[in-house]
Symmetry: C2
Subunit: 194 residues, 2 copies
Amino acid sequence: MPTATRQRIIEAADDLFYRRGFDHTSFADIAGEVHISRGNFYHHFRTKDEILAAVIEARQASTRAMIRLWEDQEPTPEGRIRCFIRIVITNGALIERYGCPVGTLTSELAKLDHPCMEQARSVFSVFRDWLTEQFTALGHKDQADELAMRVLAFSQGVATLHNAFGDEAFVQREVGSMEQWLSTYSEHLKRKEP
Amino acid sequence: MPTATRQRIIEAADDLFYRRGFDHTSFADIAGEVHISRGNFYHHFRTKDEILAAVIEARQASTRAMIRLWEDQEPTPEGRIRCFIRIVITNGALIERYGCPVGTLTSELAKLDHPCMEQARSVFSVFRDWLTEQFTALGHKDQADELAMRVLAFSQGVATLHNAFGDEAFVQREVGSMEQWLSTYSEHLKRKEP
DNA sequence: CTTGTTGTAGGACAGTCGTCCTATCGAGGA
DNA sequence: TCCTCGATAGGACGACTGTCCTACAACAAG
């Protein structure tokens, strides 16, 4: 049963881990953000790794929630994949400043050789599996996972360079190019099923 | 005039910043790697930021050296761009473990709001400007920078996902796809200048 | 009213951090 | 031989880290 305070800790840690990085965020930082004492903090999370695990779990949940939203808004697989492609525009301001939350956390945990690495990777997998489903529905079952990985790589590349250069025109251009690439895969379906 | 010890410090710091991250690498770590005392360390670098600046400078130099090597080995712009594309295979083992040195450092410095961020970005720019030159030589002067950014984004996306998933087949596949994409841009030139 | 549980606070603890200071070493010039 | 000066060593410093312990307040169960 999650307490309200516990929930606020997770939200603050989520935000700080994103903006400052996991390693560079201290207990005191999070406690200060939530306006509780470090002692109270320890009552909810005994170690830093426990918070990280809870944060990643929360990110998995919010990712799934976002995906459900896309599925409600867009009836076609093409429209849904387009939602994912456009995420680098939707979250453009944050990505320009702090990069992709999933990619940067994974990179950091890889360097730290952190036990939560596998859990962090699974956030990637939520996107990957869902994109694979969409490409399968689009009639490309045999290469669905490969296409999903390509879209995922696109978003990571654009996010990293947006974070490095801050060039919004570049993001717009790449999204447009990717949407055009996507349309070639969906028109192929229309031609097969008129 | 760089001392031999100073050079060894830079090399050790370069390696550790890559493998553990800048923030998570301490003075003691580097000193231990070089087998010198922390006091001696301070004689060469007074602050951590000074080491970082020296490391980034060294990376710029080694990047330019690698580029010169490519230019010596490959006479055509297409072959040279191919060298860059293949770098995610050449350095595959390291990237799988620690990600791209340029991308991960830039991401970390962005989160730390570090003054060396601009300098780190310039390592990206070395690649970007050189790729722009190559695409210009390939006869695509009007969109040379856009194509350079696309190749750069490709490498960052592939590196991030290779680091996350460790899927070598994915890397091979994406490199092949990217080389095919590149060949369409060079054949366009051959058609115009037979 | 007593007892026990739970949330909160504040501080103790040993360790590490970046930074800085001082002392010693060794070679080269006067 | 003495002096100088860069290279090296070793430790001191205050601040901060993650972790842990104890004390108190609120409140429900008995």
